[in-house]
């Protein structure tokens, strides 16, 4: 019963200094670990900005491989609000009936498909495909586009053994450039066309701004969703009774989704850049240095969560920060939640049990910490009801 566990490597540091340290390409990061401190720093956008050099608030930093500013993610208030208002209604579409019906069909189909196979490598063979197909809905782009995205592999920036792969990033940037050009020539009902029509301060968004939203949409929801889905499969493999429970009590699905997302925290942390000399947990933070808001640690904070290292699928009060906190909370959260809710509704209807055949954990190296965030590969057999 431990293949699906995600240990909390931050507990000791969280309980003592409340901080962790890691280097990242000679631009060190002070990791903020406690839930309340993480919330405070996320709220203090003037002292800890997102609108730094593009790529710098991401850990590992993407400064070396990206010049386009991701929007609205790397913009601070008040400008942030203008961008966010432009895109927010589009990113709430997953709540619409037609959207969730198609998503449900997609997930039904892929579950049916894996049930016919003797073994499935979940990361590439299930999660990446599920994520890519669902992304065609979010972009409102033809279903066939998913095949191109699947062919890029699991991480658009990372290839095996190389955390920051400039060549791979260029595949994505070139692809987005082409699609923007296409949408300029032949506007449709997709996200590119919507953004090209959108106005801020009475002016149409520039090509670079459109690109910034699109890069965010592709990059932000890729390995996060893949990890959430893959970790869920591993969890249900070791907890077949939970599948039964969800089938009998579908009203539990929402709580279960929030709990799995808290426990998995698919995005370990997100950085900010200090705009002035300041302090966190009585520790000096120098102007122009980086901190990170460690969602994964905050979500195991024993001062707020009872039995934080246990998955309690019907946990009722669950003030987790897996989708961030405050102004910059996750734009794709509605889409991600809808994927997880649909998955947790579909699996229990069709799947009796899941056997783990082989796996290799994906361990992040974060200075003094090593954190399991998911799997490099996970081979399973899905067994029919």
């Amino acid at each position: 019963m431990k293949k699906s566990k995600l240990p909390d490597p931050f507990a000791a540091a969280r309980q003592t200094t409340g901080l962790g340290k890691m280097d990242d390409q000679n631009d060190p990061v002070t990791m903020v670990l406690g839930l309340k401190d993480v919330r405070k720093c996320a709220h203090a956008w003037k002292a800890f900005q997102s609108g730094a050099t593009p790529g710098r608030i991401v850990v590992p930093s993407e400064v070396a491989i990206r010049t386009t500013r991701q929007i609205p993610f790397e913009v601070d208030p008040p400008e942030h609000k203008d961008y966010r208002n432009l895109v927010e209604p589009w990113f709430k579409r997953p709540l619409e009936e037609e959207y969730s019906a198609i998503l449900s069909q997609q997930i039904n189909d892929i579950v049916d498909e894996v049930l016919t196979k003797d073994s499935v490598e979940v990361v590439e063979g299930f999660s990446l495909r599920l994520q890519s197909r669902a992304l065609t809905l979010l972009l409102n782009t033809p279903f066939e586009e998913a095949e191109t995205w699947i062919s890029w592999g699991t991480h658009v920036f990372r290839s095996h053994g190389n955390d920051l792969d400039g060549d791979k990033a260029n595949i994505l940037y070139d692809y987005i450039d082409k699609r923007i050009t296409q949408a300029i020539k032949n506007p449709s009902n997709d996200l590119y066309s919507m953004l090209l029509q959108a106005e801020k301060d009475g002016k149409k968004l520039t090509r670079e701004e459109v690109k910034g939203v699109m890069i965010l949409t592709f990059a932000g929801g890729r390995d996060t969703v893949i990890n959430a889905v893959t970790n869920s499969i591993a969890y249900f493999a070791e907890h077949p009774k939970s599948l039964e429970q969800l089938k009998e009590s579908p009203e539990m699905v929402n709580n279960a989704v929030e709990e799995l997302i808290r426990y998995f925290s698919p995005l370990t942390h997100m950085g900010r850049v200090a705009t002035q000399d300041t302090q966190v947990c009585e520790h000096a933070i120098k102007a122009d240095s980086r901190i990170s808001l460690c969602w994964a640690s905050a979500n195991r904070d024993e001062r707020t969560f009872e039995n934080p290292n246990e998955v309690i699928l019907d946990r009722k009060v669950n003030p987790h920060v897996a989708f961030g906190f405050g102004t910059h909370n996750c734009l794709g959260a509605t889409h991600a939640r809808q994927i997880m809710r649909t998955l947790l509704t579909t699996l229990p209807k069709k799947v009796k049990s899941i056997d783990i055949l082989e796996y290799k954990e994906n361990i992040e190296e974060l200075g003094e910490f090593k954190r399991k965030v998911g799997y490099d590969n996970l081979t399973v057999q899905f067994n029919k009801k």
Binding site: P77, N255, E258, V317, N318, F323, T327
Partner: protein, 104 residues
């Protein structure tokens, strides 16, 4: 059965009736503007923030510590603040008036 009145940010008054479930779910099911309930009611998103009229606070009770912590950094929170996903519908709530709080 409890009658619950929402006043939206645009000052629209919406009167609803409910028997069970959370006040947030009642509002979401009836499209009360400004109550999103993104997290489905686990007190993680604060998109169901309301102000309880002072004369009705005895009925709703005070916010829990988890709610207070969530709202501590919210510029629009005050002593009348509640996250209405944490309010269960019951006869006791009959007649309450909830003002949908502002948000950033």
């Amino acid at each position: 059965m409890a009658k619950i009145t929402f006043i939206t940010r645009d000052n629209e008054t919406i009167e609803l009736e409910g028997t069970s479930g959370s006040v947030m779910q009642l509002a979401v099911d009836n499209n009360v503007a400004g109550i999103d309930g993104d997290c489905g009611g686990v007190c993680s998103c604060a998109t169901c923030h309301v102000h309880v009229a002072p004369e009705h606070q005895a009925k709703t009770g005070e916010a829990t510590e988890i709610e207070t912590d969530m709202l501590e950094l919210n510029d629009y929170a005050n002593e009348q603040s509640r996250l209405c996903c944490q309010m269960e519908i019951s006869e006791e709530l009959d007649g309450i008036v909830l003002q949908v709080a502002e948000s950033d």
